[in-house]
């Protein structure tokens, strides 16, 4: 089983990211689980979400204590939040940031999204994560995004954002 933790501010789409990533993996034949962690704090406050996936059916419902990867959608969180908390040995930390960020894998998602004229920083990071972990494929991501969000948003915009993140990491 693999476990991902997503950090963001409420309203930045971490829940969507966690679900989209799970939905794509589900299409890819994995068993998955995605859930957010809410508090009473409102838009702007730090929050978390999680994705779990495995070859075998996932039955457990305990908290994700030791994630295999951490994705930080909002760089300012690095100030207040210990994003490495519980991270497994050798675990991956992906941060939406320019250049390098505390030695974490930086993805300039803000800029990449802006470059596409979109707000989908979260999707860029999902693409980046998939590339970093090697699964699911970009196509699976894109088709899952179309199914999950396509009713409200142009699927091409979704696909582009995912691709931008994916390629950024893939190309290294």
């Amino acid at each position: 089983m693999k476990e991902i933790r997503w950090h963001a501010r409420a309203g930045q789409g971490a829940k969507t990211a966690s679900q989209l990533y799970a939905a794509a993996l589900l299409q890819a034949g994995k068993s998955v689980q995605a859930f957010p962690e809410y508090g009473p704090e409102r838009r702007g406050a730090p929050m978390r979400a999680y994705t779990r996936f495995d070859e075998r059916p996932i039955r457990r419902h305990d908290a994700v204590a030791m994630p295999d990867a951490v994705v930080v959608l909002e760089p300012s969180l690095l100030r207040d939040v210990d994003v490495e908390d519980g991270l497994r040995e050798g675990g991956l930390v992906l941060v939406n940031a320019e250049g390098s960020a505390n030695g974490y894998l930086a993805v300039p998602a803000e800029r990449l999204a802006a470059g596409l004229g979109s707000r989908f920083v979260n999707l860029v990071m999902v693409g980046a994560l998939a590339a970093a972990l090697g699964e699911p494929s970009l196509e699976e991501l894109q088709s899952a995004a179309a199914a999950l969000l396509g009713a409200k948003v142009d699927p091409h915009a979704l696909a582009a954002a995912l691709a931008a993140g994916w390629e950024h990491v893939w190309r290294g």
């Binding site: 679900q19 034949g29 998955v32 689980q33 809410y38 039955r59 419902h61 305990d62 204590a65």
Partner: protein, 384 residues
């Protein structure tokens, strides 16, 4: 558990809202409360888009939600609603009444802790509050089961020998807000499965005007109220009948009790809801380590499958019962009732309280419970 290939990614709330869409109830009184709100939100969106023709009644409190539901269900309309926590507490008076008046209302519950302090996360305190009410209470292990039980619920509630409210519980957030693979049945299959709504004495039948909700003196109260207990006894069988029929349709068997690797178990753990999934993983691990352990997952808290619990634990020497609700100054409900059931057997029955207000239960803690090394309150931070 859904087969991953054909499943969609849905939260427990979405799964249940879809079940409701497929059932297309006549009337659904609603009132928001976390964590069940996504259920009624998703469902009203279906209505707004014309995907069901349900009459939504946006009531002003949960007390009125259940009251409107009683009126509607006994008037002759299939009626569903949903609630959590304080909402259930506020309406509990009317749940007892619904049972006494034999109103087959189906209610989705996003189980959540009770105030004070106020907390929006999962535990079973709200369901426990209604444990004498006469409502049937089913607990789902995951989003798929929440869907399945919701589809089964009208059949159980409306069975002529039952005619009781059915509460379909799913753990707040852990299921209501967790997206998991869920396989939905085809809409028509669900419609056909639940069939038409029929009750013996609809109020709107003008040809036989009846008075309902009578005043009873000591000469008749005991007998009238006893209908509930008798209907509960029958419900034990009805649940299995419906489960069997549902299995034919879906391939999934949702029995009142699931025995997980209990055959030759020396030590058993008893619990309800989402925790059962985590426990199954731990059982597998311990079995792999050679320990003879198993799980008794109670899916029907009311009626409690008493005989089956007795039979399932007949071989065990230790039974640890986990209550996800506290009974301050008394004995936990599931613990006490299992003890009463197993009294006289060779099993030593222990009780633990865990997971209040969304407190996580880790595999390590479950191992400690199996090992007899866990404190009564598992997961509680204590100075000692």
């Amino acid at each position: 558990m859904a087969s991953v290939r054909t499943a969609r990614l849905l939260t427990g709330s979405e799964a249940v809202a879809n079940a409701m869409r497929q059932i297309d109830p006549d009337v659904v009184p609603i009132y928001p409360i976390t964590p069940q709100t996504p259920i009624i939100e998703r469902f009203t969106r279906f209505v707004a888009d014309g995907e069901t023709s349900t009459e939504i009644v946006n009531v002003e409190s949960e007390h009125s939600a259940m009251s409107a539901a009683v009126g509607s269900a006994l008037a002759g309309a299939r009626t569903m609603t949903a609630t959590s926590s304080q909402g259930l507490a506020l309406m509990v008076e009317v749940i007892y009444i619904a049972a006494g008046m034999r109103a087959p209302i189906v209610m989705a519950v996003g189980n959540r802790a009770l105030s004070a302090p106020i907390n929006i996360h999962g535990d079973h305190s709200d369901g426990y509050l209604a444990r004498d009410s006469g409502a049937i209470q089913l607990f789902a292990e995951n989003a798929q089961e929440a869907y399945d039980l919701m589809v089964m619920a009208p059949r159980i509630a409306e069975h002529p020998d039952v005619l009781l409210p059915v509460l379909v519980g799913q753990d707040g957030f852990t299921i209501t807000h967790s997206a998991e693979p869920v396989e939905l049945l085809p809409d028509e299959a669900v419609r056909a499965f639940v069939g038409e709504y029929r009750i013996p004495a609809p109020l709107l039948d003008l040809s036989a005007p009846r008075s309902q909700g009578m005043f009873a003196m000591p000469d008749y109260y005991f007998e009238l109220r006893h209908q509930i207990a008798a209907a509960m006894e029958r419900a034990r069988e009805v649940i299995e009948e419906v489960a069997a029929e549902y299995e034919e349709l879906s391939g999934r068997r949702l029995s009142a009790l699931e025995e997980y690797r209990l055959e030759d178990a020396e030590r058993a753990l008893v619990c309800m809801g989402s925790t059962a999934g985590t426990v199954k993983d731990v059982v597998d691990e311990l079995r792999a380590e050679g320990e003879r352990v198993g799980l008794l997952e109670v899916r029907s808290f009311r009626p409690l499958p008493i005989e089956r619990i007795r039979a399932a634990c007949s071989g065990c020497s230790e039974v640890a019962v986990l209550d996800r609700a506290d009974t301050p100054g008394g004995v936990g409900a599931l613990h006490a009732e299992c003890a009463a059931i197993l009294c006289g057997s060779r099993a030593r029955v222990r009780g633990h309280v865990y997971g209040l207000g969304g407190r996580d239960l880790s595999p390590a803690e479950i191992r400690a419970v199996f090992a007899g090394a866990a404190p009564r309150y598992v997961g509680l931070r204590s100075a000692s």
